[in-house]
């Protein structure tokens, strides 16, 4: 037993006994990361809709500021936006827990990217589809619900999946406002025990596992979506 801690098991550059102690803590903290990322993704999917409709508005007074603002958000660092919401919102009387502030920042930032994905999807839709729904007299809501959105889904899955992976990779930025995600816990352990290699390496492996699992789910969904148009054999599908 040395003064720095227990005896070393495994190589110097990766002490297994250290790894075994911190792995459960990191896995627990990964839960926070996954929670934050999924909520932020859901938020971005929702925020993308009003951002898109504002950008495409025929009223210039709505469209121009919306385009400016969303371009601004996409071209400035996410870390800056996280700090902005964290320090500015309380000033204007909005008190949110750090984790909610983080989810909000991620949702707005990625909502602007999601709206771009929606936009390219709509533009990829053949022009004739709009003529056809007009000729058949579909209402606006029914047009989106039954004609446009079902056609967009297979197109959107890969684009949105990539954004979800990006969101996962950006969540460590929330450690900067003391959200106790996986990165925060890893760095805290490092600072307390002066053991950085093991927690950071394990963090990387956990992120790799999350990314691989996400990509796998996206691929499965992609295949399912491309099969759906041909696979349904029932009349009343």
């Amino acid at each position: 037993m040395s003064i720095f801690g227990p005896d070393i098991i495994g190589p110097d550059w990766f002490r297994l006994n250290v790894a075994v102690v911190i792995l459960p803590k990191l896995i627990a903290a990964a839960g926070v990361t996954i929670y934050v990322a999924l909520f932020a993704f859901a938020g971005a999917l929702v925020i993308g809709i009003p951002v898109l409709s504002a950008r495409r508005s025929s009223i210039r007074l709505i469209a121009q500021p919306a385009i400016l603002l969303s371009d601004f958000i996409r071209s400035t660092p996410l870390l800056l936006q996280i700090y902005f919401y964290f320090f500015v919102l309380p000033q204007v009387g909005v008190m949110l827990p750090a984790i909610a502030t983080g989810i909000l920042a991620l949702s707005i930032h990625y909502g602007c990217y999601v709206s771009e994905a929606y936009r390219s999807g709509l533009e990829a839709l053949p022009h004739g589809q709009r003529d056809a729904v007009a000729a058949l007299g579909f209402s606006r809501v029914d047009t989106y619900r039954y004609i446009i959105v079902p056609q967009l889904i297979p197109f959107l899955i890969p684009a949105l999946g990539n954004l979800l992976v990006s969101i996962f990779k950006e969540t460590p930025l929330l450690a900067s406002i003391a959200v106790t995600d996986i990165m925060f816990v890893a760095m805290q352990h490092g600072a307390d025990h002066f053991q950085y290699i093991e927690p950071i390496t394990l963090c990387g492996l956990i992120f790799l596992a999350i990314s691989l699992a996400t990509s796998f789910v996206i691929r499965v969904l992609e295949n399912a979506a491309s099969q759906a148009w041909l696979g349904r054999r029932t009349i009343h599908g």
Binding site: G128, A132, A135, F138, Y146, Q151, R232
Partner: protein, 262 residues
């Protein structure tokens, strides 16, 4: 031309349509009688398809008035003032009376043939699913595709897709049916099957049709009247026999010569 005991079902009065600086229709006047089969011919850019798209409420006009089945679609406010489109509710009512078949089919790629036909009756006419699908099956029989009800558009040939599109338009029970160059995008060997469906429809069913086509044979066979357009104006009109056998206008003659030699 058919007898005209009723007032016209479609009227264009002094209609001008521009795309930017390009004038597509210039003070066009046109009347179509109920149950008349009218064919529009002319070189590309002459405004034929634009006439159909205005009736389908897919295009606006700059001046003039348009009525469909007694309802105003565009109201003229006199010289130097733009025409005004009827209220949204009236526009929707007109859309229900008019069906359109497009050059590029425009089927819904994510739906089976049957559902392509049944979807609008369910969502727009609020028919029950059973009724809508029963009618869709009848219509597929009518266009000779009873065995393709569960096929998706991607699995059908161009000719088959266009026949589904015709059935889809018929499912809305339109009073007026618009055919916009419906055979232009087809492979030559599938043109015949679409033409025979259109012939059968014109023979057996009573509704008004406006057709834009380059098939002079079809135009001659099923039209009551043929209009030759050029530069956004009707240059000459008359019965198919008149237009095809003894056209009066030199430009009509030149166009027919060019297209028949092609």
């Amino acid at each position: 031309m058919v007898d005209q005991p009723h007032s016209p079902i479609i009227t264009f009065r002094e209609v001008t349509k521009k795309f930017g600086d390009v004038t597509v229709l210039e003070r066009l006047n046109l009347e179509v009688a109920p149950n008349e089969n009218l064919t529009l011919i002319g070189p590309s850019g002459s405004g034929k398809s634009t006439i159909l798209r205005i009736l389908m409420t897919l295009e606006n006009v700059q001046a003039g008035a348009v009525t469909v089945d007694g309802e105003a679609l565009w109201v003229d406010h006199g010289p130097d003032k733009l025409s005004e489109q009827a209220a949204a509710a009236q526009t929707r009512a007109i859309r229900r009376k008019v069906g359109m078949v497009f050059q590029s089919f425009n089927l819904f790629p994510h739906m089976s043939a049957l559902r392509n036909i049944a979807e609008a009756p369910i969502r727009v006419l609020r028919l029950s699913k059973d009724e809508a699908y029963d009618r869709a099956i009848e219509l597929l029989n009518l266009v000779g595709l009873a065995d393709k009800q569960n096929s998706f558009p991607i699995q059908l040939s161009g000719g088959q897709q266009q026949r589904v599109a015709i059935a889809r338009a018929l499912a809305m029970r339109p009073k007026i049916l618009l055919f916009d160059e419906v055979t232009s995008a087809l492979d030559p060997e599938t043109v015949g099957e679409v033409l025979s469906v259109i012939r059968a429809l014109a023979r057996e069913h009573q509704f008004t049709t406006l057709m834009v086509t380059h098939h002079m044979g079809l135009a001659r066979e099923i039209s009551d009247r043929v209009c030759f357009l050029e530069g956004g104006r009707i240059i000459e009109q008359g019965s198919p026999a008149q237009i095809f056998e003894s056209p009066a206008n030199n430009r009509t003659k030149a166009f027919l010569r060019a297209i028949l030699e092609a």
